[in-house]
């Protein structure tokens, strides 16, 4: 699942929303990191509708223009559930790896040192002590 798709489903999880509502909610939930373009949003909504994850909810007329609201279907809820489960598993795996690293005494400083010396490639230049300490 690509990021815009994930945020559209997430924005629609709590309530049916129209286009601008989805863009606002995705921006708010991601802390301003995600700005959906209108064309991208509707292309994704069309695709999600065709796949049965999203469906039109209701139409409202504002300023003479019809505003269509969309909602998640039960398949859409299931898809978002599956995606969050997958992401949670990913996060858990990464968290466990970082915890193991700290337990072996490398700590946050070790992480910093490995980042500057790039020890995965042993031939990189760097202070000799740092290279020994890494991995």
């Amino acid at each position: 699942m690509r990021e815009p798709t994930f945020w559209i489903l997430t924005a629609l999880a709590s309530a049916p929303r129209h286009g601008y509502g989805v863009i606002q909610e995705a921006g708010r939930l991601s802390g301003g990191r995600v700005t959906l373009q209108a064309g991208t949003l509707y292309a994704a909504l069309d695709r999600l509708t065709a796949e049965g994850l999203v469906e039109p909810d209701r139409d409202e007329v504002v300023d003479g223009r019809t505003r269509r609201y969309y909602r998640l279907t039960s398949d859409g809820v299931a898809a978002l559930d599956a995606e969050t489960a997958r992401m949670r598993a990913d996060v858990d795996a990464a968290t466990a790896q970082l915890a193991a690293r700290r337990r072996f005494g490398l700590g946050p400083a070790g992480a910093q040192r490995t980042a500057t010396s790039r020890p995965a490639d042993g031939r990189r230049f760097g202070p000799p002590g740092v290279r020994r300490a890494a991995w």
């Binding site: 129209h18 286009g19 601008y20 863009i23 373009q37 209108a38 064309g39 991208t40 949003l41 509707y42 292309a43 069309d46 695709r47 509708t49 065709a50 796949e51 504002v62 300023d63 223009r65 019809t66 505003r67 269509r68």
Partner: protein
């Protein structure tokens, strides 16, 4: 308060989308996103709308195959659009040099020698075997003198004089590796200037009898692609690609509600694209270091024309089935209700077709007899490359041989003769297909047909034939191609 000017600008960008409620929905969202003091859409929004709008025109939002097909079809129709636009632009191409410009060129290349040929040519000409076309050309040539028989030295001089006159030499003079080993001397090079291509070739064949030519020193002058024809090709290509994309989208969206329609349409598209692919690939087949003498759509006008036409038929069939679906359903519904109407339609169509065929039938069948003129009237385009030499029926075999040798003395691609007044061809020439009494036919001059290398060869042919015993007339005739 709605910003009307911003709305108008958004609406213009929303033309990328198919017409329908989606345009209004997007406009609403875009205006809500824009905030009160925005004046114009951002570049990012414009790109986003163009990209997703063109995608939305294809329908089937969850599919990827339709995008691939639309892209391939757009390439194919873009190629066709470029070919058609390029061909149309060539109709406005200026004529090849004539008059003072041609004289100056002739005397630059061949100073002090009588130069034959020159003049204009059609934009495109077909090779003798019909397998290729190339840009039309005019031949310029001189007959050998003691000076020109030293082919290598004379060619070097021609090359230097042309280069000094502003011609860019494309390939330095070289001998044709296929030239014979029987003492034949040969040199060729090519040069370009101001949208013109000059292909020089000189041959000397020693040891020929007096009545046969001992070679030629010649160049062919033809047009090259110019800014206008290239611009037309680019514009036509873009329009063709857009049209192909939009038509694919139209078909895809109309058939979207029918499950399983995608497979059939995809198969039709594959067949159509495969049939069209040879021409597209052939157009990329330019050889580095050789002059470009044929347009890029060469294949479309020659060997690949039939598969391309088949491909077009598939497209027309798909478009008409998809477009006429409701109409066809209405027609079949009527026919089911009244089968007698169907019989009547078929009968009337058959009668009309039969009557048309009857009218178009052979005039000879209608019993018309002609009174032939010598030479027969021939209304030929001045750029026709075909001529006839009419020969008196009483001429001796020696006279005929000398006439034939004289014809070989001018640049031609093929010659043929027709001595039989009973043939359809002979009857066509003298009587346009009407009946020609056998006794009259036997007294009429028979003829050589000469496929001249270029239209400007005719004066040289006329000069060769002038005063030769047995020659009745020389005439430019319409090109059957």
């Amino acid at each position: 308060v709605v910003n009307e000017r911003l709305a108008r600008r958004y609406r213009r960008r929303l033309w990328a989308y198919p017409s329908g409620p989606r345009r209004d929905e997007l406009l609403d969202t875009l205006l809500e996103c824009a905030g009160p003091d925005r004046r114009r859409p951002t570049v990012g929004e414009t790109v986003d709308l163009a990209r997703h709008g063109l995608r939305a025109r294809l329908g089937r939002p969850a599919g990827t195959a339709v995008v691939v097909f639309a892209a391939l079809i757009a390439i194919a129709t873009g190629f066709l659009g470029a070919a058609v636009a390029n061909r149309l632009a060539w109709a406005a191409a200026p004529p090849l040099p004539s008059g003072a410009a041609a004289d100056r060129l002739a005397s630059t290349a061949f100073p002090g020698l009588p130069v034959w040929g020159g003049g204009d040519a059609p934009a495109f000409v077909r090779s003798g075997d019909g397998e290729t076309i190339r840009y039309g050309y005019a031949d310029y040539w001189v007959r050998h003198t003691p000076e020109t028989r030293d082919v290598a030295a004379y060619t070097a001089g021609v090359r230097d004089r042309l280069a000094a006159d502003g011609w860019r030499i494309g390939a330095e003079p070289a001998a044709d590796p296929d030239a014979g080993t029987d003492g034949t001397r040969h040199r060729a090079f090519w040069a370009t200037r101001d949208g013109l291509l000059l292909e020089y070739s000189a041959s000397y064949w020693p040891g020929r009898p007096w009545y046969d030519p001992d070679g030629f020193v010649t160049f062919q002058l033809s047009h090259r692609e110019n800014a206008a024809t290239i611009a037309a090709a680019v514009a036509g290509g873009l329009l063709g690609a857009l049209a192909g994309w939009l038509l694919t989208g139209w078909v895809s969206r109309r058939t979207e509600p029918h499950p399983g329609s995608g497979g059939g349409l995809g198969a039709a598209a594959v067949v159509a694209l495969v049939l069209l692919s040879p021409t597209v690939f052939l157009s990329l087949n330019a050889v580095v270091g050789e002059p470009v003498v044929a347009p890029f759509w060469n294949g479309l006008a020659t060997f690949a024309a039939a598969p391309a036409a088949l491909s077009g038929m598939i497209a027309v069939l798909v478009l008409s089935v998809v477009g006429a679906g409701p109409l066809w359903r209405r027609v079949t519904a009527v026919l089911k209700r009244r089968p007698s109407a169907a019989v009547a339609v078929v009968a009337v169509t058959a009668v009309l077709a039969g009557a048309g065929w009857y009218r178009a039938a052979d005039p000879a069948w209608a019993g018309r007899t002609c009174a032939p003129a010598v030479p027969p009237p021939a209304r030929a385009d001045p750029l026709s490359r075909v001529a006839r030499v009419y020969v008196d029926v009483r001429s001796t075999p020696d006279q005929v041989n000398l006439i034939q040798a004289g014809i070989f003395g001018v640049l031609s691609t093929a010659i043929a003769f027709q001595r039989d007044p009973l043939t359809t061809e002979f009857r066509e020439v003298y009587c346009g297909g009407a009946r020609l009494p056998q006794a009259v036919g036997r007294t009429l001059p028979w003829y050589f047909t000469v496929w001249m290398s270029s239209p400007g060869v005719l004066p040289a042919l006329e000069a060769e034939m002038r005063g030769r015993p047995g020659v009745v007339a020389v005439q430019r005739v319409p090109d059957p191609d």
